[in-house]
């Protein structure tokens, strides 16, 4: 019998701990499929960050390092400078990348650090129980914005791809989501490009994936996808914000 669907080799057999309807699982799978297709599992070192995805060190079947909160780009820098022929990726959430780790993120990008960054933007701190993230939307109710995010008090959400696209060291900054088959396919292509850029020594590549957090949003998995479509995508438009390969082709 022909096998039409299988678990990627770059994922271990450890069951995911993610909540029902959380899109971490889809993104993990896409990253693993790309690692398999490029045949790089033996050369890849992943950097897990603090947040729900910290346990990704158990899920990816490649060498893994767990970084302090926000420091994944610095840890990845140390790895990449020591292992220039290996493939180094970070997997970071929005609190990790855009709040506590913003300095590390901006400087890794501006150095053109030749790493791949998978950025999960679900507009909330998941692991600690749903506090306001740097990407929480105006008016969004979270544990620490119980009356909705008041931008006059809590400031405005950060659009990470737009920000990083202004830096010369950024090779790819693309925002995708995984709410539909079509968008999953686009996301996978972006992730593959982000890994290929590193293999081709093009510099810092980031793929921002708009993601769901049904548990902390207080929504069902289905409602969460709709909330993402109706609220997140308008604020965080999908698309390519910088792509040096396209610039070369143009």
């Amino acid at each position: 019998m022909a096998v039409v669907f299988d678990k990627p080799k770059a994922l271990t057999d450890v069951p995911f701990h993610y909540c029902p309807g959380c899109t971490h699982g889809i993104v993990h799978r896409l990253v693993a499929e790309v690692i398999d297709e490029l045949g790089i599992a033996g050369d890849t070192v992943g950097v897990a960050s603090v947040g729900c995805s910290v346990f990704s060190y158990n899920y990816f079947d490649c060498d893994m390092v767990q970084a302090p909160h926000g420091r994944a780009p610095a840890v990845a820098t140390g790895l990449k400078r020591s292992l220039p022929d290996n493939v180094i990726f970070t997997y970071q959430g929005d609190g990790d990348l855009a709040a506590i780790g913003m300095a590390e993120t901006v400087h890794a990008a501006t150095r053109g650090e030749n790493i791949t960054v998978i950025f999960i933007n679900n507009a909330i701190y998941g692991m600690t129980g749903g506090q306001m993230a740097p990407t929480s939307l105006p008016g969004q109710v979270t544990q620490t914005t119980p009356y909705g995010r008041d931008t006059s008090v809590a400031g405005h959400p950060i659009r990470v791809c737009e920000l990083l696209s202004t830096l010369s060291g950024t090779a790819l900054a693309q925002r995708v989501t995984v709410d539909s088959v079509k968008n999953v396919n686009i996301a996978k292509k972006a992730i593959k490009k982000a890994f290929e850029n590193q293999i081709n020594k093009r510099g810092y590549s980031i793929v921002e994936v708009l993601s769901t957090c049904p548990t902390n949003w207080g929504l069902s998995p289905e409602e969460a996808l709709k909330w993402l479509q109706n609220n997140m995508i308008p604020y965080y438009p999908l698309g390519v914000y910088k792509d040096v390969t396209a610039e070369k082709e143009a």
């Binding site: 070192v45 893994m64 390092v65 302090p68 420091r71 140390g78 020591s82 300095a103 590390e104």
Partner: protein, 355 residues
């Protein structure tokens, strides 16, 4: 041994690191460790190494975490306020059982403090360089030659036991010049790092460098295993220099720069007919308990001399266990005690004993 060259402490230490096989240096500007980074930025490109000026001390120590995970000899250096910023990363490095070399060229504190030499980070280095149960292997050089020699020692011990090493220097040792000899170039034998995350090449199981353990029993077991290693280090790696201790009534205990001053004071005391001696802890952790305890039987007074408000004196008291008097003399804020000041303290103790 090679020929003697006159070098600044900071530069000698940096050269020693390169000769010990360090090819990855991550730093951030701060006085008075400046020359280490400047020297590394000059030398690393010549030896095919990596000098990277990080965006912060926080980033620099995490770059060291990444490089150490890859299995290479990495290093960062800073001065007191910058070391505080590194403390998060140091805790993760210790919790991940990684070796790493961290240099503190101490200056006065707290806060931004001053830029003159100090030893007020003794507690930080030996008791609490970050959250959680852990220790660093802490070496305190007192000459520029030791700034050189302790680099390879620090790497070797750190790699053997998989713990981070700190060389606790200060602005005086960093800035002063002395003739030094570098050991003849030899490939330092590095133990194979089977734990390194450098790609499994489809030939071994994946490696994970991690400090997160959600199950309390698992975490307790791991911490206890680490402390068994600490006991081995305590048993085998204590180092101290004894100077005129055998017949001494009064023993000065001092490390690093203040030990240089204290040695002169001991010489002055001997000339004045006072039986004084000096114990100079070289490893601050593990603290050289054995050397102190050995001296208790004949020592009436221990005098701790430090460039702080009295930090190592706690450890001396713990070793002496009330069997002899322990007193303290110190200057702080960047002030350096003079041999005369220390000699006066010795004289006061001697006169008190004579009464």
């Amino acid at each position: 041994m090679g020929e003697k060259v006159l070098m600044k402490g900071n530069e000698a230490l940096a050269e020693a690191a390169i000769q010990a096989g360090c090819r990855h240096y991550f730093g951030y500007p701060i006085t008075p460790q400046t020359e280490i980074a400047a020297y590394m930025s000059k030398r690393m490109p010549k030896v095919g190494g990596c000098f990277l000026q990080a965006e912060s001390e926080v980033a620099a120590i995490n770059m060291v975490l990444g490089a150490s995970s890859a299995g290479v000899r990495a290093m960062t250096s800073s001065s007191s306020p910058g070391i505080s910023l590194k403390s998060e990363g140091v805790s993760y490095i210790a919790g991940s059982d990684l070796p790493a070399l961290i240099i503190n060229v101490q200056r006065g504190g707290p806060g931004l403090g001053g830029i003159q030499p100090s030893q007020s980070d003794y507690w930080q280095a030996t008791k609490a360089l970050g959250h959680g149960d852990f220790q660093l292997f802490v070496l305190a050089p007192s000459t520029i030659q030791e700034m050189v020699d302790f680099v390879s020692l620090g790497y070797e011990v750190g790699e053997k036991y998989r713990i981070p090493t700190m060389i606790l220097s200060d602005g005086m040792l960093g800035q002063m010049m002395e003739p030094v000899e570098f050991p003849e170039a030899k490939e330092t034998a590095q133990a194979e790092k089977t734990w390194a995350t450098n790609g499994h090449k489809n030939k071994r199981k994946k490696n994970i460098i991690n400090s997160l353990y959600i199950e309390p029993q698992v975490l307790e077991d791991l911490v206890k295993e680490r402390f068994e290693r600490y006991e081995k280090i305590k048993a085998t790696e204590q180092r101290a220099e004894e100077y005129l201790v055998d017949d001494a009534d009064i023993v000065v205990v001092a490390f690093g720069a203040s030990a240089r001053v204290s040695r002169n004071a001991v010489n002055m005391a001997r000339e004045a007919g006072i039986k004084a001696g000096l114990i100079r802890p070289i490893t601050l952790w593990p603290f050289p308990e054995n050397t102190i305890k050995k001296a208790v039987s004949h020592t009436k007074d221990f005098l701790c001399v430090e460039m702080n408000m009295g930090q190592m004196v706690d450890d001396v008291r713990l070793c002496v266990e009330g069997k002899s008097e322990v007193s303290f003399f110190g200057r702080t804020g960047g002030m350096i005690p003079t041999p005369e000041e220390v000699f006066n303290e010795i004289k006061k103790l001697s006169e008190k004993e004579a009464k």
